[in-house]
């Protein structure tokens, strides 16, 4: 806990936003429309509230044990064996997540921008670039996030403003017509668009001020909910329910719809892709850092830099395992669903419950 790697609350907020908003923003409206039709915004809000609850729990864990980092707390609360098991699942999850990110990125970049560049080259270059930033400490990544997250907000706003002339807001109607029994399905879909807040495990202990850091993280979740809602409503207003169900990447398709008079801007999908690559980069970098951190802890090394480059081939190979984009979602996506449930939902809740129980016993 040296003094030089501190994060400000603003950086924590930026880190959470830029880590969460990533690959999912392109396809989220589509999967929500498939699950809940016009009422896809309900699951976004519910999933956002659930995420906020878990974020608050993570914050409370670090409040219970100030001056300790994630690994120390985990070992103390869960015991050596159980915590190591959790860490192994965590690292598998992070490797899966990174592979998923780089493969999705490569597939989309190839489709929209570089159609003759081999997928392998795109993946390798992308992982190499992120490995450079992942070798730094969390405060550097925090600074990176702080510079990328305004871009996310500006991009969303630009998208909305540019597409306003062509959207029809009556397409949002009718409200509350979907089956309530479908809501859990939508929550499951949208909850995994909130994946990424696990970076709080590695960033919260290094915050400059102890008070207000949870509030910053919660603000971040709120902003993410807002971004998702805006994107959902604007794509729904553009395509209507049946159309949205057909567009696999509605956000990108929406960019292609932009039609300003005078041919001044047209075919903006290239620009949008460039912005999106940055978003994915800012999701990938913290995950890479977390994975390296976990490995350095598992092997008892002091420095996580050692593990950045060895992770590269693993991520590369895993990312090439799925045959196509459909199996990518089917296999890696499923894998992420289950492992994610264990490490980013079960782990913090378990840690908090045990921590609270121990503390109460101590008081007695």
């Amino acid at each position: 806990m040296e003094g030089n790697k501190k994060l400000s609350n603003r950086q924590i907020k930026a880190l959470v936003i830029s880590t969460i908003v990533g690959v999912g923003i392109l396809s989220l409206p589509n999967s929500l429309a498939l699950a809940n039709g016009n009422d896809g915004w309900i699951p976004i809000i519910i999933a956002g509230l659930l995420t906020a609850a878990i974020v608050a729990i993570i914050g409370r864990i670090f409040d219970l044990y100030p001056d300790k980092d994630f690994f120390q707390i985990g070992r103390e609360l869960l015991g050596n064996w159980l915590f190591t098991l959790f860490l192994l699942i965590f690292s598998a999850y992070l490797i899966g997540l990174m592979s998923f990110l780089s493969r999705s990125l490569a597939e989309l970049v190839r489709a929209f921008l570089l159609d003759t560049t081999p997928t392998e080259v795109i993946i390798i270059t992308f992982i190499l670039v992120t490995s450079y930033i992942a070798r730094e400490e969390i405060n550097i990544i925090g600074r990176l996030a702080y510079h990328i997250y305004p871009l996310i907000i500006v991009a969303t706003l630009t998208l909305v403003i540019f597409s306003l002339p062509s959207v029809d807001f009556t397409n949002i109607l009718p409200l509350f017509q979907s089956k309530m029994s479908d809501i859990p399905k939508g929550i499951r879909t949208s909850f995994f668009s909130f994946v990424g807040y696990e970076i709080l495990f590695f960033s919260l202990p290094y915050s400059e001020k102890k008070d207000g850091r949870i509030r910053a993280a919660l603000w971040a979740i709120g902003l993410v909910v807002l971004i998702y809602l805006v994107v959902f409503f604007i794509t729904l207003a553009q395509y209507g329910e049946p159309g949205l169900k057909r567009q696999v990447y509605p956000t990108l398709s929406l960019v292609k719809e932009i039609d300003l008079p005078g041919f001044f801007v047209e075919n903006l999908d290239g620009v949008a892709m460039a912005g999106w690559v940055l978003m994915v980069f800012s999701t990938m970098a913290p995950s890479y850092y977390s994975a390296a951190k976990i490995f350095s802890h598992l092997f008892g090394a002091k420095d996580h830099r050692l593990f950045v480059i060895p992770l590269l081939p693993i991520v590369y190979i895993v990312s090439l395992l799925p045959q196509n984009t459909i199996t990518l979602v089917e296999t890696l996506g499923k894998f992420l669903d289950y492992t994610g449930l264990i490490v980013i939902v079960l782990l913090p809740v378990l840690m908090y419950v045990i921590g609270l129980y121990r503390l109460r016993r101590k008081k007695r």
């Binding site: 489709a111 570089l114 017509q177 553009q238 209507g240 398709s253």
Partner: protein, 374 residues
């Protein structure tokens, strides 16, 4: 030493890097128009026609005469046809700037082909969803081939696209984008796209072709197309003529507002479509005595005009309801959005219910300006 390495890497990044699959812009072909037909001869199913500008004929130092190239090929699928065209052109085709798809009449009547076309256009990464759709009177190939010989539309290419861009001061045809076509197809099951033909020495776009379940089912005349567009709220500017005191007056619509309203009367659905138009009096008569138009005359004119419009729209509605049985007015969409409960009851037999419901146009005409004379 460190500095030298740094400079070396910086230089190598600047000098060595670049586009490894670079393609010059003049080594790409950007088609503006694609025509799809069912092959009239024996053999493959489709006839695909592509027109693209000859960039060597553009600009001051044009080195070639022919401004547009038109190439075509037969094939068994649409995509295959495009690929096959690559065998007769020097550079690859890029569809990023595609503006118009011309659908041949027989092609339009074949549902399977239409569905294939829609999927192909919608699945493609590079094709913009803003492309305009248009139905040819006969073969799309003929329309495309007539672009170079059209006298008054001698643009390099994109003739059709420019005509369809949508800022025309007429309601005789209403351009539609691919997105809109698909959206209406899925929401209400039918839509209208304009019709194109080559007449004498001009390409003419006129009237509408009604599509139902992706299939072309019938024509709409220019007047009827205007009326339907008025009811759909798609009219930007148009003109209306009406008899008034032995002469015809001409009224230019400058803006319209439409609103649908549902009345349920004894289990029967009744839809009222309220239309409010604002506009300018364009032609009356050069009167013998100069006097200002009094408000009563204006009011009478407004009444006459709205009577004319109501009659015209009623006629058009009748064609849609009785002849074509196609809900191109978006009634189904309206019910889905604003009366989901009613829609739930009628959605299953909408095919049978739509021709039976009462659709009543209520048109209010406002003359806001009268020009420079009294």
């Amino acid at each position: 030493m460190k500095k030298i390495i740094l400079i070396f890497t910086a230089l190598s990044m600047m000098l060595i890097s670049g586009c490894w699959d670079m393609a010059e812009i003049n080594e790409r072909i950007f088609p503006y128009t694609v025509g799809v037909d069912l092959n009239p001869d024996k053999g493959d199913k489709y006839l695909i026609t592509v027109s693209y500008p000859n960039i060597f004929a553009i600009g001051k130092n044009a080195s070639q005469e022919e401004r547009i190239y038109i190439i075509s090929s037969t094939s068994s699928t649409i995509f295959e046809g495009i690929r096959k065209l690559n065998t007769i052109i020097p550079y690859p085709l890029y569809f990023k700037h595609l503006g118009t798809i011309v659908i041949g009449r027989e092609f339009a009547q074949d549902e399977a082909s239409m569905r294939e076309l829609m999927d192909s256009a919608n699945r493609d990464f590079s094709i913009s969803r803003k492309i305009r759709l248009i139905t040819a009177e006969d073969l799309a190939n003929q329309v495309l081939c007539s672009i170079p010989i059209a006298v008054r539309q001698e643009a390099v290419d994109g003739t059709l696209f420019n005509m369809l861009k949508g800022d025309k001061r007429t309601a005789r045809y209403t351009p539609h984008k691919l997105t809109k076509f698909l959206q209406e197809m899925e929401m209400t099951g039918s839509t209208i796209i304009p019709r194109v033909a080559f007449h004498g020495e001009d390409i003419k776009i006129f009237g509408g072709c009604v599509y139902k379940d992706f299939k072309f089912i019938g024509h709409l005349g220019e007047k009827d197309n205007g009326s339907i567009a008025l009811l759909r709220g798609e009219v930007k500017e148009t003109s209306v003529e009406s008899p008034f005191e032995d002469i015809l007056i001409s009224y230019a619509v400058t803006s319209t507002k439409t609103r649908k309203k549902l009345d349920v009367e004894d289990e029967d659905l009744k839809i009222k479509i309220h239309v409010e138009t604002e506009g300018i009096l364009r032609e009356y008569t050069y009167k013998e005595k100069s006097e200002n138009l009094d408000p009563d005359t204006i009011k009478k004119m407004e009444e006459e005009l709205s009577k004319v419009l109501e009659e015209e729209t009623k006629k058009a509605i009748e064609i849609l309801q009785k002849d074509l049985k196609a809900d191109a007015l978006g009634i189904a969409e309206y019910l889905q959005k604003f009366h989901p409960k009613v829609w739930k009851e009628v959605s299953d037999d909408w095919e049978e219910i739509f021709p039976e419901i009462t659709i009543e146009p209520v048109i209010k005409v406002k003359i806001r300006r009268r020009g420079l004379t009294g």
